[in-house]
Every structure is written in C-alpha cells, then in structure tokens.
Point group: C2
Chain length 239, copies 2
C-alpha cells in the first residue's frame, strides 16, 4: 500500500529522462502562441528553471529550439524575449500563406484518400463545435488542424512543413483577430470551410484552389480592417 503510493509519487515527481526540455518547449510554445506570453516579454532562464522546477539546461534547450522557430529572439549575452509580432509584414505573410494553401488545397483535391477526407471533415466538425460554444482557443486550434489535415492530404512533406511554419507564425495574429470579435465570431469562416471540403470531396482541383484563395483573402481583408482600428488604440506594432 504505502509502497504503491510512494512509487506513484515517484513517477510523478521524477520525470522521464528527456521529457524535461520537451515539456518546457511545449508549454512555452503554447503560451507564446496564445499570447499568454506577450510579444517582447522577457524570458529569464533562471526564473523559468525555477518555475518549472528543473535546472537551466533543459530550459536553455527549449529556448534554443524556440529561437530556431522564430518564436523567441535571442540577444547574445543579453537576454531572450518573446518574438515581437511583425504586423508590418502582414501583407507578405498573406501572400505566402495564400500561395501555400492554394497549392496544398489543390493537391489535396487531387490526391485525397477516403481517410484524408474523413480526417478533414472531423476537424471541420470540431471547429463548428468550438464556435458554437464560443471557445476561442479551441476554435483556433481546430481551425489550424483543419488546414493541416488538408495539407497532409496533399502528400508533400516539404509543403506540409512550410504550411505548418506559416500557420504557427500566424497563430498569434489569429488570436488577436478572433478576440476582436469577442464571442460573436462571424460564420463566414465556416462557410468557406464547407466550400473547400466539398471541392476536395468532389476532387475539383480548380474549385478547391479558388475557394482556398477566397478564404485566405477574406480572412486577410477582415484582419487588415481590424488592424486599422487596432492601430488607433496605440498598439506597439514593432519593437
């Protein structure tokens, strides 16, 4: 009895070897992407190692990985901080995202298997459910999964990687964007998703690409409008 309890406690305390850096990495990444850690926030290694209850080595490893993803910026011998949001480059971002999503959606329409389709539809339903409940974080999460499910169906490792990078990069902007609506997120996104799914199901490449393009442009346009209003509220665009 006592022994069993002790052992359980031990497995809870003593993390498995190698999980330390991984945990810090995932947790920090999550916090950064959902804006719990704000752009330009300072990340102190000692403070973090204390917070996570481990030495600086795994924390350091996590920060290095995050810096390679562009989510934190490391000033040598000085400090590392959460990467500033480069909203000045939003137009460039949209261009790149449009390009990649158009081609992945087209390829998905061409190559999708039945299993791919099933996965995509499942993500779509998750999104609808999250929106119905009004859970912004879940909406963003399932929205990303929806689009990644599409690029998975495109069967191109390189495009898939690029797509994932772009979606991660845009995640923080998406949080700003969705929050701007409060609890009443427009249903245009769902409508777009429906059209894309239908085109992929029917394997209509041209239509799929076209809907993907419209989707990106629609979201981008709304966000740009939002940005215009946001800038008036004295938001620090760059640091």
């Amino acid at each position: 009895m006592n022994l069993a309890v002790k052992e359980k406690k031990k497995t809870a305390e003593v993390r498995r070897r190698g999980s330390g850096a991984q945990r810090v990495y995932e947790e920090l990444k999550r916090d950064i992407l959902c804006l719990d850690l704000k752009p330009s926030d300072l990340l102190d290694e000692s403070a973090l190692s204390q917070k996570f209850g481990m030495s600086r080595s795994p924390v350091r490893e996590a920060l290095i990985r995050l810096s390679m993803e562009g989510l934190v910026v490391t000033l040598p011998n000085k400090s590392t901080l959460v990467a500033p949001l480069g909203l000045e480059e939003f137009q460039s971002y949209l261009d790149a995202l449009d390009l990649v999503q158009r081609v992945t959606t087209r390829l998905a329409a061409r190559l999708r298997t039945q299993a791919d389709l099933k996965a995509i539809i499942a993500r779509e339903k998750e999104y609808k459910k999250a929106r119905a409940v009004g859970n912004v974080s879940d909406m963003i999460e399932s929205n990303l999964k929806f689009h990644m499910a599409i690029s998975n169906a495109a069967r191109n490792k390189y495009l898939d990687f690029l797509h994932a990078r772009l979606l991660d990069d845009g995640r923080r902007m998406l949080h700003l964007y969705f929050r701007s609506f409060g609890d009443a997120v427009p249903e245009s996104t769902e409508h777009d998703h429906d059209l894309i799914v239908k085109a992929i199901r029917n394997q209509d490449e041209d239509l799929a690409e076209s809907h993907a393009h419209d989707h990106v442009m629609g979201v981008g346009k709304q966000f740009l409008g939002y940005l215009g209003a946001y800038q008036l509220t004295d938001f620090k665009l760059s640091v």
Copy 2:
C-alpha cells in the same frame, strides 16, 4: 615580448563568449551540406567536444539547432546522426522548389531595384567563374547565392525563409548531382540563369516565372536521370 606572445596566444585560445556554439554549428552545417559528413553518420557529443576543444554544452546547442533545421536526427537517449538523404521524396522536393522559385522570381521581376539587379548579376558572374575553374563547391555556393539574391529582391520575408530552407535541404543532393559530372558540368545552367536575369532586368514577370520553372524542371529532370543510374550502383536510398 614573451608576454605579448602569451597574450596573443590567449586571445587565440580563449574564444569570445558565445562564439563556441556558433562555430560548431557553422562548421558542422558546412560539413553536412557538402557531404563531408555523410548521411546517417553518427555524431557523438563527446567526440565532437573533444575535436572542437570545448565542453559538451556548446556542441549540444549546435546539435539542437541543426536538428531543428532537419540536418541531423536525434534519437532520444540514444544518439544523433546526420539526417539521411530522402531521395524517395525528390519529386515532392522539386514540386515545392518549383512553386517557391516561380513566385519569388516573378516578384523579383516586379519589385527589383537597381541594387537588387546588381547583386544578382554579381552572383551570376561568381558562378560562371567557379564553373570555368571547375570548382564544384564554389559553383554550388554561388548558385545558391544567385537564387537567394533573386528571392531577396522579391521582398517577402516569409517566402525568402522558405526558399532558404528548401535550398539548404537540396544542397546535399546538388553536391551529388554536380559531382556526377566530374569536371564537365553542362552549361545549360548558365544559359538558364542568363534568361532569368534578362527577364528580371526587363521586369517581364511572366517570362521570369516561366524561365524559373524551366530551370527547375531542367535540373530536376537531369538529376532524376542521374538518380536512375545511381540507384543501379547500389546506393542506399533511405536508412
């Protein structure tokens, strides 16, 4: 006298703080990309730290960064090895590279400044010189710089990053490819480059994109032919 020598020696020995990991990172990356370190080669942290004359920490940092770039693969608690060359996915790679180069070349034709043009032409000349001398490494280096100069002119940070990633990923294949010719690399590459530069100079977007496409397809086709012959020679395609 003796003191001066001693001091100089000291500055040579004692690297500047922060340069350690950077040096290992750059050197390993260079060796991996030019195939001095062969795919699936084992990278031992202790051995590397001994070779570079420093502790394991900076070596470890370098390996983490390389793993985030996909140049090494880390098997947790086991070992890390040079990333295997995924030649099975060469077709996917070509598709992605074609996409990115077409759009960056098009944008470059649209947005290039005089300075951009100058930089691009300078890289082109470097390439010609390297080919004339028959220096394969320099050819690859300047070829990459040539294409990066174009995507720099496209003024899109995201596309530029994706492009750089793809070119790095393809660098090792390019080494195989160029080496297959021995000292007599075909001049089709130069011709392609000439056409691209002309189109960019004339700001003819359609032509620029078209030439970029032809260039990628041409190199891809030749490489695929080479691969066919290579596979016959019992090369381990994947590991």
